[in-house]
């Protein structure tokens, strides 16, 4: 069955992961959190037309903004996923978007989530200057 944007709620996302046997939980804000080697939050955006999967990474105390931006740039240039940025507060966000506009299968959401989680491992390997904490 296809999920349409209006179907994409946090409860539906949780149900998809539950049915797929993916380890997950709801955090204190009610967000759906998928756990593997890393921890990622999954949320509907743009009224369910897209689903954002993202992981927040802290950085070492001594890491400069320049070093963080350079790491983000290296990952974005070398890998097809994830999309990486540095926030104003200095945290690093690793993310991937799944488009549900036009319909989305549960299986595609699960495969996209696994693709993203696996990509985090490759991204972490790019941290040759030891920026991530």
């Amino acid at each position: 069955m296809l999920l349409q944007p209006q179907d994409i709620t946090k409860d539906k996302l949780e149900a998809v992961y539950r049915n797929a046997g993916i380890f997950h939980e709801r955090d204190s804000d009610g967000d759906v959190v998928v756990k593997d080697t890393f921890r990622a939050i999954v949320e509907p955006v743009n009224e369910g037309k897209q689903i954002r999967i993202y992981a927040l990474f802290g950085t070492k105390d001594g890491a400069t903004m320049e070093a963080k931006v350079n790491l983000a740039a290296r990952i974005n240039d070398d890998l097809v996923c994830p999309r990486v940025c540095v926030t104003e507060s200095g945290r690093m966000v690793f993310e991937h978007y799944v488009s549900a506009d036009g319909g989305l299968t549960s299986e595609n959401l699960v495969a996209s989530t696994r693709f993203f989680m696996n990509s985090l491992v490759g991204a972490a390997i790019k941290d040759s200057h030891d920026v991530l904490s």
Partner: protein, 152 residues
């Protein structure tokens, strides 16, 4: 940005009730062409035979050899006077303030904007069109974050 040849065309209605599930093995250049043509996004083939799509701005659509991913991407030139630091700041500003596209600076110092769509598990033609349209329309907003005037 004049070199991009802004050309606005009215998108055609796509048969959004097409719920046929396409698997990764179905995702080929020819299939993608047959998906984007009726959606009014197909804009021809480049010299490598890759599919060009356009909705205001243009981009390329490249399926991975095994069909497991579809990558939408376009390159933009940077101003020769733009410093590496300014270009990286622009890419990071875009990536941190907007959902789409992903921006990076390549080894030649120019910009790549892209989005990768996973097809494993099955996708529909309207979903591919929706993703393509989302990506293309996001390109129209990138100049908003170009505060340091790094785009040529």
């Amino acid at each position: 940005m004049a070199f991009l040849g802004l050309f606005k065309r009215e998108p055609k209605a796509y048969p959004m009730d097409d719920s046929t599930i396409l698997q990764a093995k179905d995702i080929t250049r020819d299939r993608l062409r047959r998906i984007f043509e009726p959606a009014g996004l197909f804009d021809g083939l480049d010299s490598d035979g890759d599919i060009k799509v356009r909705d205001g701005l243009g981009a390329l659509v490249i399926p991975k050899a095994d069909g497991k991913q579809i990558r939408f991407f376009v390159g933009f030139r940077a101003k020769p006077t733009a410093s590496t630091e300014a270009k990286l700041r622009f890419a990071n500003r875009l990536n941190s303030t907007r959902h789409q596209p992903r921006a990076c600076v390549n080894e030649n110092g120019h910009f790549i904007f892209d989005f990768v769509m996973v097809t494993e598990g099955g996708v529909t033609a309207p979903q591919i069109v929706g993703a393509g349209r989302w990506f293309l329309r996001s390109l129209l907003a990138i100049t908003i974050v170009d505060k340091e005037d790094v785009l040529a």
